[in-house]
């Protein structure tokens, strides 16, 4: 206790010293006076002292938890038990779905529009979650597949006047193809090397979009992209936003369903095995090339599809929307949410996309808060918001009774 007090005292003294020139001294240039604002220093000292205490407390808690883990008699937390309770899960999911369905009726179109953006990132996160979270293939150029989808719709709509619904599957398939094309050269790469190559791919994609003006219309972008049609009914802006919201919602539900099923299937297990140990994975008879390519292609498929929807929502696309920053955000969503966890990725997307939107008032500090949140996250919950939960399988053989008795 006393040690904590002493250490916090040292920390606050150090911060006072560091911030002294910034917080305490102010030179009044008009009157050529130096103002000393000592009460600012007091606030700094108090704040850092308090924060240091909280910090120590959190670290201690983490340490204690780690020790419990090592002893092996880790008690599942209440939230965890709740999440594993199936009936609660169904109820919660039902409630969420109902809320999602009535959302546009309750809020104005500004909110719905923001929600649309968040849902785009939910799908992107879930798609990237397949290659990064499940198969462990770090992809820093994921947004390129998103761009492929968006430009597919933009160009097909501009040149051939094709409608949204016709292009939606085309965008997905093209994204998929790009995934395979990128997948081949990186089959042998792992870890850092893979990250660099995918990063390069993402960069190349954006540069091509910018410079191949004949084809992509360069920096000027493509404008007046048609909104999705509904049997030729004319819609005002609000109606169109709401309509896109429902399409988006359907796509999100579809993505969740597919990734959930894949995760606990033969293919999903192969992906996870690949992430865990590549050599053991091939030694167990899993075709590495095919498994890696399928993970890439499937991840890219969602990006391509949602890219089409993005183009339709924005009605205008240009290369600036498909830069490294967007890739990094999608990757942050996956890492923040918890690798491989569907619920985690959804939460991550909402936090990372909605938080900056609603914190517009603090626009200048947005990125600062964002960075701090990520650092804290990595210290206190490196496994993400929701950690890895695996399916429990029921054995239905002769000794079913024995199994249930054991719990």
């Amino acid at each position: 206790m006393l040690r904590g007090f002493k250490q916090s005292l040292i920390v606050s003294a150090w911060f006072v010293f560091l911030t002294f020139p910034l917080m305490a001294v102010r030179v009044n240039t008009t009157e050529q006076l130096v103002e000393w604002r000592f009460q600012n220093l007091l606030w700094v000292a108090l704040a850092t002292f308090g924060l240091s205490y909280v910090w120590r407390y959190m670290l201690e808690r983490k340490q204690a938890k780690k020790q419990v883990d090592e002893l092996g008699n880790e008690k599942p937390s209440k939230t965890r038990l709740l999440m594993e309770d199936m009936s609660f899960r169904y109820k919660a999911m039902g409630a969420l779905l109902v809320f999602a369905l009535v959302f546009p009726l309750l809020f104005d179109s500004y909110q719905v529009n923001i929600m649309n953006l968040a849902l785009i990132y939910v799908v992107l996160g879930l798609g990237l979650n397949i290659s990064v979270g499940l198969a462990g293939l770090l992809d820093l150029g994921y947004i390129a597949f998103f761009g492929v989808g968006a430009y597919t719709y933009g160009l097909l709509n501009y040149h051939f006047d094709l409608g949204f619904w016709a292009v939606l599957p085309v965008g997905g398939v093209l994204g998929c193809l790009f995934g395979v094309v990128l997948g081949f050269p990186i089959l042998r790469l792992r870890g850092d090397y893979l990250a660099i190559v995918t990063l390069g791919f993402g960069m190349i994609f954006q540069i091509v979009l910018q410079n191949w003006s004949d084809f992509t219309q360069g920096m000027a972008g493509i404008s007046k992209i048609a909104s999705p049609g509904l049997f030729g009914i004319d819609m005002n802006i609000t109606g169109s936003i709401t309509y896109i919201y429902y399409i988006m919602l359907a796509l999100v539900v579809f993505t969740i369903l597919v990734t959930m099923r894949l995760r606990n299937s033969r293919i999903g297990r192969a992906w996870i095995a690949l992430r865990e140990d590549e050599i053991a994975c091939v030694a167990m008879g899993i075709d590495m090339a095919r498994t890696k390519l399928s993970a890439y292609a499937l991840g890219a498929f969602w990006a391509g599809m949602i890219g089409v929807l993005f183009a339709a929502k924005q009605a205008y696309i240009n290369p600036a929307s498909f830069g490294f920053m967007e890739s990094a955000i999608v990757l942050s969503i996956v890492v923040l949410g918890g690798m491989g966890s569907i619920l985690g990725v959804i939460l991550g997307a909402f936090i990372l996309i909605l938080m900056p939107e609603y914190l517009r008032a603090f626009a200048e500090y947005r990125m600062l808060a964002f960075g701090a949140a990520m650092v804290l996250m990595m210290i206190f919950r490196p496994q993400g918001l929701i950690s890895n939960i695996r399916q429990k399988y029921e054995y239905q053989g002769n000794d079913l009774k024995e199994k249930t008795e054991n719990g």
Partner: protein, 266 residues
Amino acid sequence: MAEKHKFLEVKGLTMDFGGLRAVDSVSLEVCEGEIAALIGPNGAGKTTFFNCVTGIYTPTKGDILLHPKGQPTRRLNGLKPNKVTEMGLARTFQNIRLFSDMTVLENVMIGRHCRTKSGIFRSIVRGRGMREEEQQIVESSYELLKKVGLAEFSNDFAKNLPYGAQRRLEIARAMATDPFLLLLDEPAAGMNPQETADLDQLICKISEEDRIAILLIEHDMKLVMNISNPIYVMEYGKKIAEGSPQQIKDNPKVIEAYLGEETEDA
């Protein structure tokens, strides 16, 4: 003694890493029902030999021939590891390589991968056939866990298992691929005497009940001498002796190279 069916036949296997000859024309055979052992001092090239046979390395020279029963002979040189496993030759690793963030049961289920075939679309649609296959994977994996005595841990994460249990889980996972020949790379490494004795029994059980031939690398001489016949001895990449445990014990070359002190306290 009647001529036994040879499962694995390795002829003059040589593996070079740059200028270093790690394995130098080693020949070896494993027949049906046998528990063969490959022993030798550290760095003798035993694991390299395993890696060549299972497709992780492509050997520089020599032939690795697999004779499955009722099927034509296959040459394994240069085949990918997953193809080798598909052919019925499974292995475990010296330094445990489990899928640590998957459950114990799922680890074994991975082994069933190459014997099942649900693809992406079937997994998404989750039709009747897929669910039946899935249930059958669970059942057979669970049976294997029971065999190695890990059924009660089936829903734990593999990383939380004690060391000896992890080794047994590796064996169960390898057996899930339906092999007729099992290569075990130091299965008893790091085990205490009790665990080693259990492993001894398990290996014999696999050999007798499942009719799986076994080739093992091992340093635990007691285990090797107890259960395996024939024994092959390697030193500096070369095979220096082969024969029954008694012959190996009496072979002066082996004693000189390796067993000298060990046999005295055995």
